[in-house]
């Protein structure tokens, strides 16, 4: 392993989020260190996806703040988060259904587009050069994920497992420093899971990308993550290395139900 886990890059402080009267997250704090794989686990409805949505600004927490590389954000928004190098995949695949695999992944390059609308309209100089350069970059992602054969296929026609892969590809095309993965292996068969694990580890290893991962498959979580946060009913009940978390009595009772 060449990667070196560094200092905290993202720090969440006392985050609380509610919808109307429903409390989704209550006073949650934890940090994410550079280059690590950080898992968030918990039973259904524990607030895991809400947590990711807070990190990249889709939801605005009522309280708390996010410190990203020393900079405080009390109000994050998705665009700011993207600019700061955070990208993500979605639990219920949120690909652009009407577009091809190639175009979907190309949208991941949006922030790096420098040419303006007129140049693009005339397919002129910078616009053309840029388009080809980004295409080359995107082809690297396509090679990495081994989806060359479907690059021109509309994503709506692809099977579930491949859609998940394209979703990851789109996020990777942003060349993120932090990658949020919302149940990347849900609904996959063993083989597809193995592939996905390999991609996640490769991304972490080769590009040094920090990864925040929500996953239900405990074997996978314990296997690939460096540290684990456990949520239950919107509260943090455990945090630490996989072995520690596994031994934590609160975590055990949350998973097995009270009364044990």
């Amino acid at each position: 392993m060449t990667r070196q886990i560094g200092e905290a890059i993202l720090d969440l402080k006392n985050v609380s989020l509610s919808f109307g009267g429903v409390k989704a997250l209550t006073d949650i704090s934890f940090d994410i260190r550079e280059h690590e794989i950080r898992a968030i686990i918990g039973p259904n409805g524990a607030g895991k996806s809400s947590m990711l949505n807070v990190i990249n600004g889709v939801y605005r927490p009522q309280q708390g703040e996010i410190v990203l590389r020393g900079e405080r954000f009390s109000r994050m928004n998705p665009y700011k988060a993207a600019k700061a190098g955070i990208s993500r995949t979605f639990q219920n695949i949120a690909l652009f259904k009407g577009m091809s695999v190639l175009d979907n992944i190309m949208t991941g390059r949006s922030l790096k587009i420098g040419s303006n609308l007129l140049q693009q309209a005339f397919w002129w100089g910078p616009a053309r050069r840029e388009e080809l350069a980004h295409r080359a970059k995107v082809e690297e992602v396509i090679d990495f994920l081994e989806i060359q054969h479907i690059r021109k296929t509309p994503v709506g026609r692809l099977p579930y497992g491949l859609q998940k892969r394209v979703d990851l590809g789109r996020a990777l095309a942003m060349e993120p420093s932090i990658l949020l993965l919302d149940e990347p292996m849900a609904g996959m068969n063993v083989e597809e899971k193995q592939d996905m694990c390999r991609f996640i580890l490769d991304v972490n290893d080769q590009f040094g990308t920090t990864i925040v991962l929500i996953e239900h498959d405990m074997a996978v979580v314990m296997d690939i993550s460096d540290r684990v946060v456990v949520l239950d009913y919107g509260k943090k009940i455990g945090d630490g290395a996989p072995e520690e978390v596994r031994a934590n009595p609160d975590v055990i009772s949350a998973y097995l139900g009270a009364g044990h």
Partner: protein, 358 residues
Amino acid sequence: MLYRENGQFKTSYADDQQLFPIAQDRWSILALTVFAFIGIPLLVDEYLLRAILIPFLILSLAALGVNILVGYCGQITLGAGAFMAVGAYAAYNFHSRLPGMPLVLSMLLGGVTAALVGIFFGIPSLRVRGLYLAVATLAAQFFTDWVFLRVPWFTDHAASGSVSVSNLQILGWQIAEPVDKYLFCLFWLTVFALLAKNMTRSAIGRQWMAIRDMDVAAEVIGIRPLFAKLSAFAVSSFYVGTAGALWGFIHLSSWEPAAFSVDRSFQLLFMVIIGGLGSIMGSFFGAAFIVILPIVLNQFLPALGRLVGLNISTAGVSHAELIIFGSLIIFFLIKEPHGIARLWSTGKEKLRLWPFPH
């Protein structure tokens, strides 16, 4: 067997990202364009030019604009007629108030004005979606209807907003005969269709489509909804606005606000839905369908009536037209909700595999 891409190997990404990656497409589009510029003016009579071809070209341009907004960016509009009106009246003002203003420039400025108005009326799209937005765009329609009817400044104090232009020329080329008008519109449409194709295949087009398909995800990967939506409104309104200017200046040469009523807006939306949302080709198909259908019905129905011994009155014909038109729309929506363009591409796909479909 003819339509086959075997043997056309792409050796660079530039090759793969051409306008028409398949050689047969490239050649047939080129041939069609050449025929439209040279063949049609030689072959076709004035009636056909005036009644069908010129309206078809102009409405194709407008449909293209509507398609950019509705088909590519997913923002439903029922106010396209308003932007045609803005384009036409703004161009009229530039043309008549500033002597010596070149024709093309006043039309482009008409388009720019429509784009600005379009951005303004596009602001609600940042807060509301879907049908709410559709109704919000009607606000633009009724507001412009009123402005050009009741505010005399915009129409140079003409009664009931009726204005006219004459003596149109570009560098000494008089645009008076139907053939000249046809060529002018054709040239305009060719240029702008090409630009639209370029936009939809580059970054801006992908941003529009991303917003259309899944706006939250689009924002998460760094697309600003504000920019994407308002730029779609601007570009779309520009297209629709210049189409309005062409409609007023070239096709009608004197017009009133009623030429751009809410019915026109509906008509344009029909074109893109029947033609195919999110398809440049589809805009042309839709415009052709909507322009030609009433004319065909108009010719065909009385003849059919006489055949069975009925004498259909003019009112009867117009009622029958409404019924048939409405039924066809519903038929299309049920049978092929993705429009004629989808039929076309399915056909092409079949042709590529023919005669071995498996």
